[in-house]
């Protein structure tokens, strides 16, 4: 911290101080990436390689983790396996080397599809309802608007488990427990408060004069909203959508308590991937890798919107 020059000084900061700052930041970035690199490396290790000591950095890649993630297997005698016809694929071969045969597909893919359906469904709904409500709060005098908004946001201060107790009972009565619809509604409700807050900020920035002008030109209020406000608010809507998506994609507590089978999402499922003798780490790492990729791609593609959203629009372009 005790550098000779301030970054803002009239005299340009010296080349060295910038380089030292850069070096420290890059070092930190590389250290934080180690666990993520390790997840990927573990996913392409064979089980014996994954638990060797010292940890292996150089190894022969294997698809066993991914095979184990996607299949269920049964142990068989070597004689029985020898009597089988030729293996039909990589996974078949790998499994037979361990004296096992593939019994069928595992639950990972259905769980992953559940995650997709629930995350995108709830994001779409939260952004739709959030945009409408934010426009309402932003453009009309709503009685008690500030209290209402603060109250909406304060619902997020509850620990999820606390909310889950009555939700669990309510869903049990309504037959919504362990259904995708129940999870979509719940995540929408959790996200809508944030969506309204964020979007109200974005819509407040769009000058009212545009709508007024459009309405004088003969648009109705709804047309003005659709043709004037919405196009202007696209960036804000995108930023909000990413936040809702990340929350719904990553959520664990509600999913673990309210889903068990048909609507279970990937986060509660991945920790339950068990091999013989505890967690099957290559398979867990494979599931984790597949699960993290969509969010990584989103983060990198939409970093600008993310930055705006996180700082509530405080960072101007």
């Amino acid at each position: 911290m005790s550098s000779a020059n301030s970054a803002h000084s009239v005299v340009e900061p010296s080349f060295t101080s910038k380089r030292i700052a850069g070096a420290i930041v890059i070092l930190y970035a590389l250290i934080t990436l180690i666990p993520l690199v390790w997840i990927f490396l573990t996913s392409i290790k064979s089980p014996p390689d994954s638990i060797s000591y010292p940890p292996k950095i150089v190894f022969t890649p294997s698809l066993e983790g991914y095979c184990n993630l996607l299949t269920t297997r049964t142990r068989q005698t070597p004689e029985y396996i020898a009597s089988l016809p030729e293996p039909t694929g990589t996974c078949d071969e790998v499994t037979r080397k361990r004296n096992m045969v593939i019994a069928g597909p595992s639950n990972f893919l259905p769980r992953f599809v559940n995650s997709l359906v629930i995350a995108f469904g709830s994001t779409f709904l939260a952004v739709l309802l959030g945009t409408m409500a934010a426009y309402g709060f932003s453009r009309f005098r709503v009685p008690l608007a500030d209290d209402l908004l603060f109250f909406i946001l304060s619902t997020r201060m509850m620990p999820p488990i606390a909310v889950a107790i009555p939700i669990y009972l309510m869903y049990r009565e309504l037959g919504l427990s362990d259904t995708a619809l129940g999870m979509i509604l719940l995540y929408t409700a959790v996200n809508v408060s944030l969506a309204v807050w964020l979007l109200k900020g974005f819509i407040d920035e769009i000058p009212r004069e545009y709508e007024e002008a459009a309405m004088i030109d003969g648009y109705t209020r709804l047309q003005a909203f659709r043709k004037v406000v919405l196009p202007q608010a696209t960036t804000g809507i995108a930023a909000t959508a990413i936040f809702c998506l990340i929350f719904a994609w990553n959520e664990y507590a509600f999913a673990a308590l309210l889903t068990s089978g048909s609507a279970q999402t990937a986060p509660p499922f991945i920790p339950t991937i068990i091999g013989e003798g505890g967690q099957d780490w290559p398979a867990v790492a494979a599931g984790t890798t597949i699960f993290l990729i969509p969010i990584l791609v989103f983060t990198i593609l939409l970093r600008k919107q993310l930055l705006r959203g996180i700082t509530f629009g405080a960072v101007r372009k």
Partner: protein, 321 residues
């Protein structure tokens, strides 16, 4: 034809311009009031159904002896007995202390590291935008899924973490039982939380640093203020509201801490990492003491809400300075 058309248009334009907007609105379709209601109602209805109604139900349950695993048993009101039990239960006070311990250390570490990083990034070295994005990655990931994998990193014999620490410090790996050792387990969680959420604090601090106008520094420069002096009398005070905001968000989040602790330690070894949310989960979904768990949930909510309110008042004071 053209001429007459344009005259008509001009006339229409002129008429439109002199018509008061309120009249225009009344003439066409839905009134603003109806639209305001139509636009706000769906979100409010959903929140009422899935946030507020359950909350009210939880308040009601907290005064009863209801048990969720016996839906047909007669429900009796027990007055304030649940609250009495919650507030006198030593386990619950222990859990609150554990939670406070986590909140304190995660905030201290994340603020110090996050602010330092933001300060360094704000010097705009080459490639700073790219490296900022790289640093953000951990906070985008699922705390549960990644936390679960950290268990593997923490394995004393085969895990990378123990191996790296032992390689750096010379302590044998068998002594680095991050999840099994009573004194190390809380730190195992604090490390993962800090790894995940420091970028978040960094971002908010960065927003704060970028909100400081350059001319203030230029004036200080003219006054020959040292860099150290500029840092303590300009940078820190001006970024303080942002730092406080980051602390508020992290404080609320970590008060609710559940996913990561559940998957890393499950509250163990013993109960040294049993935070409030885990105690609550055990009361509600293992002991099935729904009434008592609801009372505890309400107490937690009131505590967070009260603390957050006091804090926001302090934050506003800082902002007005």
């Amino acid at each position: 034809m053209n001429i007459s058309n344009s005259i008509v248009e001009k006339a229409a334009d002129a008429t439109a311009k002199v018509t008061p907007i309120s009249v225009v609105r009344r003439v066409r379709g839905l009134s603003d009031r109806a639209i305001a209601w139509l636009f706000i109602a769906p979100a409010i209805v959903l929140l009422l159904a899935i946030n507020i109604f359950p909350l009210i139900w939880a308040i009601y349950l907290s005064f009863t002896n209801y048990r969720a695993n016996r839906p047909n048993a007669a429900v009796e009101g027990v007055g304030l007995r649940n609250y009495e039990r919650v507030l006198t239960d030593p386990d619950i006070w222990q859990a609150m202390q554990t939670t406070a311990h986590f909140v304190f250390w995660t905030i201290v570490l994340q603020t110090v590291i996050g602010f330092t990083l933001a300060y360094l990034i704000d010097r705009k070295f080459r490639g700073h935008a790219f490296w900022t994005t790289v640093i953000l990655i951990p906070m985008m990931l699922s705390p549960a899924v990644v936390g679960n994998f950290w268990r593997f990193l923490y394995e004393p014999q085969i895990g990378l973490f123990a191996y790296a620490v032992s390689w750096l410090s010379g302590i044998p790996t068998s002594d680095i039982r991050m999840l099994g050792d009573v004194s190390l387990a809380p730190w195992a969680i604090i490390i993962v939380d800090t790894w995940m959420w420091t970028p978040y604090v960094m971002l908010i601090c960065l927003a704060g640093l970028r909100s400081i106008p350059d001319y203030i520094y230029e004036a200080a420069e003219v006054d020959r203020a040292s860099a150290w002096r500029q840092f303590w009398s300009i940078t820190v005070p001006m970024a303080l509201p942002f730092i406080m905001l980051a602390v508020l968000f992290r404080g609320i989040e970590n008060f609710k801490m559940f996913d990561m602790v559940t998957l890393l330690t499950g509250g163990g070894p013993g109960s040294v990492t049993e935070v409030a949310s885990i105690t609550l989960k055990r009361a509600a979904f293992e002991s099935w003491a729904t009434g008592r768990a609801s009372a505890f949930a309400i107490v937690l909510f009131v505590a967070v809400f009260g603390l957050a309110n006091i804090y926001v008042k302090a934050l506003n004071k800082v902002k007005q300075r």
